[in-house]
Symmetry: C2
């Protein structure tokens, strides 16, 4: 029996990771779950994010997945250490891959991190960066309006630019040369973020590194698919039409098989 890669996120943002998984692992079947009935997670407590994550993982395990990719920075920041202890299936988050790339990329040893309130409050990025290189200084900033902007389809314009400028001023003042986009929605605002930070600043979008790590694990465990093209199925807890409409922006092509499930 061919097993799939399971991916979950609070909503549609995790599709930026799916896009990269499809590019690097075209033969793999992918099952995606987006918890659109309870989105967003970024403003909710650690305890609740852990509870929701466990429910999402149990749903994916029922679909017989061989690996689970947490395509959500909030879950990866606040819940991953706990959920990794509970389950046998390999679970890959989005923090460590991004941290590795950022520490490798910075020249002046000053890294900026932007994400949801929960992600920033958890200090997970700071801790992981310091563990890899304690000489790096980190400036983290929550940008709570970026997710609503993306969901509203506002990727540019005066208002978005003004908000980006306000949010990112402390990072600019701190002179960071590398910034981690610590939320799967943020790659869609890359242009406006780059504009606000200055064009020499390197933006790290962890999706690429996440796919590399998934590939390494599957390869090490002898679990890589031998198929040429995989099947991609998408489940959401609410509003499959809304998900499909947004999916194209994140995925670069249509999400064909989208179903609603009442598991949460």
């Amino acid at each position: 029996m061919i097993k799939s890669i399971g991916v979950f996120d609070s909503g549609v943002g995790g599709l930026t990771v799916v896009k990269e998984l499809i590019r690097q692992l075209p033969g793999e079947d992918i099952i995606y779950f987006g918890d659109t009935a309870r989105v967003p997670y970024g403003t909710k407590s650690k305890e609740t994010v852990i509870r929701f994550s466990i429910e999402n993982i149990l749903f994916l395990l029922k679909q017989e997945v061989k690996l689970i990719c947490v395509a959500c920075n909030t879950v990866s920041s606040v819940a991953l250490p706990v959920i990794k202890q509970y389950f046998k299936v390999p679970i890959v988050g989005v923090i460590t891959p991004g941290v590795r790339e950022a520490v490798y990329a910075t020249k002046n040893k000053r890294i900026g991190v932007i994400g949801t309130s929960s992600t920033v409050k958890s200090r997970t990025y700071e801790n992981e960066i310091k563990q890899l290189d304690h000489k790096v200084s980190v400036m983290a900033k929550a940008c709570p309006l970026f997710v609503p902007f993306v969901e509203e389809g506002w990727f540019s314009g005066k208002v978005v630019a003004q908000v980006a400028k306000t949010y990112l001023k402390p990072l600019r003042d701190a002179g960071v040369d590398t910034v981690i986009l610590g939320c799967t929605h943020y790659p869609l605002l890359k242009a406006v973020i780059k504009e606000a930070l200055g064009k020499d600043v390197i933006l790290i979008d962890s999706a690429q590194q996440v796919a590399i790590e998934v590939k390494e694990i599957l390869s090490a465990e002898g679990l890589l698919s031998k198929a040429r093209r995989g099947r991609h199925r998408f489940y959401v807890s609410d509003n499959p039409e809304g998900f499909s409409a947004l999916a194209k922006r994140f995925l670069g092509h249509d999400a064909r098989e989208v179903s609603k499930v009442n598991n949460v």
Copy 2:
């Protein structure tokens, strides 16, 4: 046994209604439930909003409430007709009271309505206004970024003013003289909304009318409390600390008894 008034909302916004209930009915005990684990409702499907509302009502019924006030425009718009059929307890929504006041207030028979995407999509306001006076023309506009602004504590400033101007231009162009604030968060943006619409436009905040309707029903059924001061208890499904911090802005004073429940 003294029974309470039950109030629920997707989060903290419904406290604008609680504030008015306390002012008009100081002797009543109030039990509030804010579904902060699943907030917001305004971007979710009708089916899901109905499911969540039923769970919230069942929670309040366990607390032995004598009347339930749906202090959420999204729920009132999309779920009220269904949930009213299911339950014996009187259920009061926020649409009809606001509609009555707006139809009474308008001179040029042009009313604007602003709310979440779900509220506007439901066309409930249009239908109720037309039913009361079919000569009134209605211009409804969804303002999805207003809730994130309020939750982020941005009540004024260049960005908020610019977004308000963009959202409200169709209402201004339509020459409405009365605008219903069709979301419990919006009263906190009153100043900026007034600025964008022009100072002669009347803003309708339904909380006051809702409290009048609650009082009428309780009085008609002989259920009014005879106490001089009621007790006010607040339950949330996530993050009681965050709720308490925001509550003061909506309520005008501290919410003392706040507890977290795992009912959803």
